[in-house]
Every structure is written in C-alpha cells, then in structure tokens.
C-alpha cells in the first residue's frame, strides 16, 4: 500500500483503514507487521474498563502473543476456523488527534460483520488506535476494541477483530 497523503493525521487514519482491510482479506502476517515491536492489543471485558491489569479482559496480548495468535491461524487444525471465517469491517467516524509530534490517536466506530460456519454474527465496537511514527514509517502502538456487548456471553472467536 502507498500513502498518498502528506497530511500526517490523514495518514494515521489511512493506516487504521488499511488495518481493517488486511483483516478482511485475511492477510494476517501483513496485519501483524503494522504493529510496532512493543505494541499491544486489548479487548476489555467490562464497560468503561480502564486497565487490563486490575480486571479480566477478553484479550490482552503483546506483539509476541499476537504473533502466536497469527501463527495459529495458519494451522490446518484450528477447529474453530473450519471453514475460515469471513469479516467485513465497516468503519465510520474516523478522527485523528495528535498526541505529540510523532504520536496520533485515531478513534473509529467499527461494525464488524462476521460469517462463521454459514452464520452471521455482528460486532459493534469503538476502537482506539495509537499510531506512532518510527523508522519503519507509521505503525500501530496500541489497539483497543471496546465492544458494545463486551460483558455479554460470546461464542468462540479466533481471529483478531
């Protein structure tokens, strides 16, 4: 992909759009490469949860564990992904705010339609991406996915949302 805009806030938003596209295309290795070395991925399990350290989370994984999750997705014996799930990420309300010279915070609303075993599931989330500019260009330093039903019971899920 190429970033055609020179507006840094616009670039940060485009990175978030690109991330969603890679998930929909199931290009998980490319998806992982968007994450910075010391990045993390968080899905809180309670409404308004402000830390992964004092409460249970649906997911809290650093890049090393995210890499494990992605390697698992390539396995032929990942039962919950037979047949492979499909997703459409519908993004809206994208806003980027500069936190410091090289750090942006991007907010988005995401409606994720998932097809798994011929059945549609719907996830609605408020997402927060921290985007940093490093030697590799823009990268994701942190992604937080706040599901509207984070505290409801959910069925098994293997792919990152």
């Amino acid at each position: 992909m190429t970033h055609i805009s020179s507006d840094p806030a616009r670039e940060a938003i485009e990175l978030v759009e690109c991330e969603a596209r890679l998930l929909d295309e199931r290009r998980f290795d490319d998806w992982l490469s968007l994450f910075a070395e010391d990045s993390w991925y968080w899905m809180p399990a309670s409404w308004g949860q402000n830390s992964p350290d004092d409460s249970l989370s649906l997911v809290f994984e650093d890049r090393r564990l995210l890499a494990l999750r992605v390697r698992r997705l390539a396995s032929p014996v990942i039962h919950v992904e037979q047949p492979s799930s499909r997703t459409h990420h519908h993004l809206s309300g994208l806003r980027a705010q500069s936190v410091s010279h090289d750090v942006f915070e991007v907010q988005s609303m995401q409606l994720i339609v998932m097809l798994r075993a011929a059945e549609k599931q719907l996830f609605s989330a408020h997402c927060q991406h921290q985007v940093v500019r490093g030697t590799q260009g823009l990268q994701i330093a942190a992604k937080t996915i706040r599901l509207i039903d984070c505290d409801s019971p959910h069925r098994g899920l293997a792919v990152p949302l």
């Binding site: 899905m43 399990a45 309670s46 949860q49 350290d53 004092d54 409460s55 249970l56 989370s57 649906l58 997911v59 809290f60 994984e61 650093d62 090393r64 564990l65 890499a67 494990l68 999750r69 390697r71 698992r72 396995s75 014996v77 990942i78 039962h79 919950v80 505290d151 409801s152 019971p153 959910h154 069925r155 098994g156 899920l157 293997a158």
Partner: protein
C-alpha cells in the same frame, strides 16, 4: 406413566450413555427439576456483598435470584420477583439498599424479603397483611457459606452442604488457605462464554486429558515456534507456557492422577511443570508471596498448603475451581443445547499484587471466548451437539480405563487418560435423576 415418575437412570450405565441425555428437552427439564432445583449450587462469594444492604443478581438453577446482606450480616437469597404483580424487583447486576422497592407499585421489602410497606393499604381486607408469608418475596430455603463461598438449594431437605461437597471441599479450602490473611476477595469482573451444546459437555471436558493434544494442537504448535517466549517470567511467558503444557504425550498425561469423590466430584493433578506457571516457582514475586504466607502460617504449613498441586477441581454438578490459579467457573444450562460459562477470579489477601495480575491474565488466557484454547473447546462442544442429532450409534461409550480404576482412602484414583471423570459425573447424575418427587 408421566415423565415426573420416569426413572432416567437407565439412560446412563457405567460404561455408556444414551445420546438423549444431551439432546432431549424432556431430559433437560427433568435435570432442572431433579438436579438444579435440589442440589447445592454456588451463588456468589461473601466479598461481593460485604455490607448491609449490598445485593447481587445471581442464579439458583433456572431461577434469577437476589443475594442480599441484611441486618447483622445475615445473607438471604430472594427470588427476583415481586409477590404482588410478579415484576422483577431489580434489573441491575448489583446494588446496595436497605429496602428493595418494586418499580411497579412500590411495595417495599427488607433484605430478608419481608413486606415493609405498600401504597393504599386501606384497599385491602383487614386480614390481607396478616398472611405475611404470602406477601413476602419468596426465598431459597437453604443458604450456607463455606469459607466465604455461598451455596444454596431450592430444596428444603436433602444432604447438608458439607455432606454434599464431601471430599471436594478441599479445593475451596486450598484456595482460601493460600491467602496469607486467610481471606480471598472476588476481583476483576467476569468472563462469559456461550456455546450451542449441552451443559455436561463442558464439565466432562474440564477433566478430559486426552483432548488437549488434539483440540489445542494449533496453539501448541504455534507456541513451540517461539520457545524463547516461554522463558519470560511475566504474563507473556505464562500464556506461552500454558500452550506448551497442552502438548504433553499420552504417557505423560497418564503420569498424572485423577481423583474421584463420591457425589460426582473430580479433581486432577496439575500438569504445569515449567516456568512461571509451575508449582515450584522461584521468581521474585513468588518468593515474596511465600514469605508472606510463611510469616502468617509458619513455613511448614505454608509448604504443605502449596504442595497441593491440582488443576481443575469439579464440584458436581456445575462448578469448576482452580485453587492454584484462584479461578472459578460456573456452568449455567440455558436450554438442552445452549450453555453459558461464567468465570471469576479471586485475590489472595496479603499476597503481592502481581499475583492477582497473573491470575487475571491466566483466566483471560484460559476462559475468555477469544482465548487461544477455549475457542476450540467451544467449537468441539458444538460439533458434539450437532453430531448427536445425526444418525449413528445411540449409545456413547465412556469405558476407557474402567478396568484400572482403584479405590484408595475413600477416593477413586485413575491415570490421567481414564474416562473416570465422565463415569463419576454420570454416577451422581443417575442417583439424582432416579429420584422423582413433587419438585418435578
């Protein structure tokens, strides 16, 4: 003959079960009546309702209940239903109030469920309020705390809680004993999973030591590709070690013992041997914890407490406790083919805070629906449920290891790969399901 008299015990023999125990709504209805309306079931922890008026929405079998602390600390378990027009009294997950006031016509009740006020009393006959029992919020007849863990039963009579728990009570003891102060606190919210399968599938799988190598093969292989990560001492190393441990060979699983108790309760040895998840940890956090425990209990007693190295402990019918990781799961049957599993964890009072962080992450890695492990377990439960519905053998074999079960000191002991846990749970199921009665 009506179903209320039917003896369901013929559906489960010592070596095989009929598939209808997983699929037939009539069997499910009988389970609700004969097991979940009679047995002692876990309803909450004392730390969730510490002060007078504190209440918590919970379930006792099929019914939604309010666990509430009244004057002088007494706990009550009330049906969430106004005796007037039947409205749910509360709708939030928890709250605190000296009175429960029905939102419909403002009948109010004290924490014991007694009617304390209502509008327009002059509209009733003078004898109306004399029939106090009919104007109270209905309550569970039996409620008892075992070292802070609150159990209740819809049945006024039956075995006492200590009789019911039998040998399995050690799992609660060991969890509480691990706290330097002798107290644990429920912390960190809850995790909730849902699967389209029968409730018994979860309980059977929790002590099935043949499935991990197959069901979790993808996570094992992914973890083996980065063995260096397993040497990390923090939460990341913990998650990687958990995946690697599922990759034991059958002979290694067989070196573990399964411990069966009367009443359908089962305990398994832990299989965590390496790194931060092993019982023999020596990292700085654990050293500080050991000093705190030894300071409170003496070194010898502390070593004795920590030497109990079990993994899942099943308290039949629907509770699973992992004392070492301070975690608990409750299996809630919603329909014959729909089940919710809710998990909580506990902080050990007096232990370093980092211990709580590790246990929160342990449970996230083990019991979240997005867990690398649990997602595949849930998938297999759904595959079993769909499989049962198809053509094929009506009876499912549960005999592996039957010949080598042995009785030792009141426990039934079997090697790790035995199907003893399934047989024991069905032995208890037969016992309760063969008893008809007015509850059906």
């Amino acid at each position: 003959m009506s179903l209320s008299d039917f003896d369901f015990s013929a559906l489960a023999s010592e070596s095989a079960v009929h598939r209808s125990v997983y699929t037939d709504p009539a069997v499910f209805a009988a389970e609700q009546a004969r097991i979940f309306r009679r047995a002692w079931l876990y309803v909450g922890h004392e730390s969730q309702v510490p002060s007078v008026g504190d209440w918590l929405l919970t379930r006792l079998g099929p019914d939604e209940m309010i666990l509430i602390r009244g004057e002088e600390g007494a706990l009550s378990l009330l049906h969430n239903r106004c005796p007037h027009r039947g409205a749910r009294l509360v709708a939030a997950e928890r709250g605190s109030s000296r009175h429960l006031i029905c939102p419909y016509h403002a009948w109010s009740f004290d924490p014991a469920g007694r009617l304390t006020g209502l509008p327009l009393p002059e509209g009733y006959a003078s004898t109306f309020l004399d029939d106090a029992s009919a104007r109270q919020v209905a309550r569970a007849p039996r409620l008892q705390s075992y070292r802070g863990f609150i159990f209740a039963s819809h049945a006024a009579e039956g075995p006492s809680l200590p009789e019911f728990l039998g040998g399995s009570a050690f799992a609660i003891d060991n969890l509480v004993d691990r706290a330097p102060s002798g107290r644990v606190t429920q912390v960190g919210g809850a995790l909730r999973m849902l699967y389209r399968g029968n409730w018994k599938l979860f309980m059977e799988n929790a002590v099935d030591l043949v499935h991990p190598g197959f069901v979790h093969a993808s996570a094992v292989a992914a973890a083996r590709a980065d063995r260096e990560a397993a040497t990390l001492t923090g939460v990341t190393g913990q998650v990687v070690q958990m995946q690697l441990a599922n990759g034991l060979r059958p002979a290694e699983w067989n070196e573990l013992s399964i411990h069966g108790f009367s009443g359908g309760h089962v305990s398994m040895d832990s299989f965590y041997r390496q790194g931060v998840i092993a019982a023999q940890r020596d990292d700085p956090v654990f050293q500080r914890y050991f000093e705190a425990l030894a300071g409170a209990q003496g070194e010898e007693r502390a070593r004795e407490i920590l030497s109990i190295d079990r993994f899942n402990n099943l308290l039949w019918p629907n509770l699973s406790i992992n004392s070492r990781f301070q975690a608990m799961r409750v299996v809630q049957p919603l329909a014959v083919d729909l089940t919710q599993v809710t998990s909580w964890c506990f902080a050990l009072e007096g232990a370093p805070e980092e211990m709580t962080r590790l246990t929160l992450r342990f449970l996230t890695a083990a019991a979240s629906p997005v867990s690398l492990v649990a997602a595949d377990d849930l998938e297999l439960f759904e595959r079993c449920q769909r499989g049962f519905a198809g053509a094929g053998p009506e009876w499912l074999d549960i005999s592996r290891g039957l010949a080598v079960d042995r009785e030792v000191d009141g426990e039934t002991i079997a090697p790790g790969t035995s199907e003893l846990p399934i047989r024991l749970q069905f032995a208890s199921w037969r016992h309760w399901m063969s008893q008809s009665g007015s509850a059906v």
